[in-house]
Amino acid sequence: MNLVRRNLTFWRVIFTLIMAGGLWATYLRFVYGLGAVTNLSDRFPWGIWIGFDILCGVGLAAGGFTIVAIVHIFNLEQFKPILRPTILTAFLGYVLVVVALMFDLGRPDRIWHPMVMWNPHSVMFEVAWCVMLYNTVLALEFAPAICERFHLETARKLIKFISVPLVILGVVLSTLHQSSLGSLYLSVPGKLYPLWYSPFLPVFFYISAIAAGLAMTIFEARHSANAFGRSMHLPILSKLASVLAVILAFFLVLRFNDLRHREVLSLLWVPRMETYLFWLEIGLSAVGATMMFLRPVRRSASALYVASLFVIFGFLANRLNVSLMGMEGASGTHYIPKWTEVMVTLMVIAIGFAVFRLVANYLPVFDEPAEEEEEFETVPAAHEHDFALTAGD
């Protein structure tokens, strides 16, 4: 117990430091402008706030629509226990993406402009609408938890009544904007390194987001199990993992087929930074997928967790390669984020963990109490009913 206490204090200190740094960076951002807090330039106008906070954030939140589709559309009831926490993860993810966007936009006060000033030829316009609408869908999909907590029967019934079209809308919107984040980069054929520039970018972004979203679901389940003393639902996650492994294997084969069709396979052996980064990305994903194909891994909570980390890091590497490292060569400049950019990003993540914890403490996010956990030691921290914000567990 002592260990847990010390652990919590450790994370609390980290959390406080991140929040302090992040708030200071926020102050600098909104008083002195983007130039004061970022290393962005005319030659490199998009940094980690787009590449990490938005591209990675949206992708990792893809578990929301995937699990919703599995449970509601495919009617696989067995996955229901992980539905709510996954929706919560997705909802928080998307809200935080909008928060990050407020930092990155030069004129955040005009974030509403795409609602009235239309350009249907712009991918960004489409993404803006999808994210806006999907945020609403996620809010409604999570709303039953709020209704149950406060006994709002009418509202709950109303949402239940529209739930089927709502679910379908959510999946369609996700399909659109997950792929469109890849389409954003279709407009930079001369700039993005050929290992990543492909007419299939939207397809790749979509498939890899599904894989990353499922990996994130496993990641989140493990952390919730630790933090709240809930069941990790290992049998369910193990099934997800086998689906994930197949999707990832499919994705990796597609990637190489695409390279072959574009006749750039020879680039795989050119000794330069992009090559190493490409192999790093592929390697991480391949290790994650291979692990998940192995039954012993799927049967062990901690091994499965490690495998999901590999998948998540492979995904992050892919998005950062496309948005940052793959764009550097042609830009004629070098981009390394300023500490303030990193601080804001860390703050956004920390807020995500903290709000998840807070919401999970007060709303019925997890359906049933902990069962006997299969093989790993559960750390019961939930009974502390901590009001204090802690950065995760």
Binding site: N75, I168, G190
Partner: protein, 253 residues
Amino acid sequence: MSRAILYDSTLCIGCKACEEACTTRQGLPYNDKVAAEEQTSAHKLTAIRTFGERFSRKLCMHCDEPTCASVCPVKALHKTELGPVVYDETRCIGCRYCMQACPFQVPSYEWTSRTPRVKKCDMCYDRQLAGKPTACTEACPTNATICGEHDDMIREARRRMAEKPNDYYQRIYGLREAGGTSVFVLSAVPFEKIGYNTRIPQESIPPLTWRALSAVPDVVSAGSVLLGGIYWITHRREEVAKAEGPQSKGGRQ
């Protein structure tokens, strides 16, 4: 009836009069420090670059099908009928996708402002509307920069190349770049030797994203039907089971 600029780098003497005229027109200060900068920026919308004895000039290319205008989510940029690609700062939300997407790396941003704007050459749209030449054309003492009708500028470029084939590298930069532009450049040497990006795609870029975007209605319609159909099938099984459940039990009894 569309206007264009022809910049003949073989005539350019690097006096930077175009820079000064352009910067002054923007109401921005022009001094030795600004003159020494060889890059365009939010406070310098055209720049003369020095390559030994030769000079080159950077400015917005005013593409026929501008990528910047196609990617802008709020239509803050658009191609005018007159030729210039212009920017409406009242619409701009500052996403900087135009900067990210521009194949020529033209748009600049007011990074240090609290209400930043995108800045780029607008080919003196207001002056051209009034029938006047661009400020840079007017200021150029050697006629290295001229402006006029789009097709006339191409004809003039070709005439010069044909007349003195030894003085010119036989290509017009801007004719095919990004599917064609409204700024044409002539040079004595290959363009990459005087700082021009020669790896610009030779076809128009907006169709690349439009191809993906035009699939949106397909995803919405086909996706909804497919998902709705799967829902119907998976839940129908359940209903059938429910309806038949007690009956079949009854049958067995």
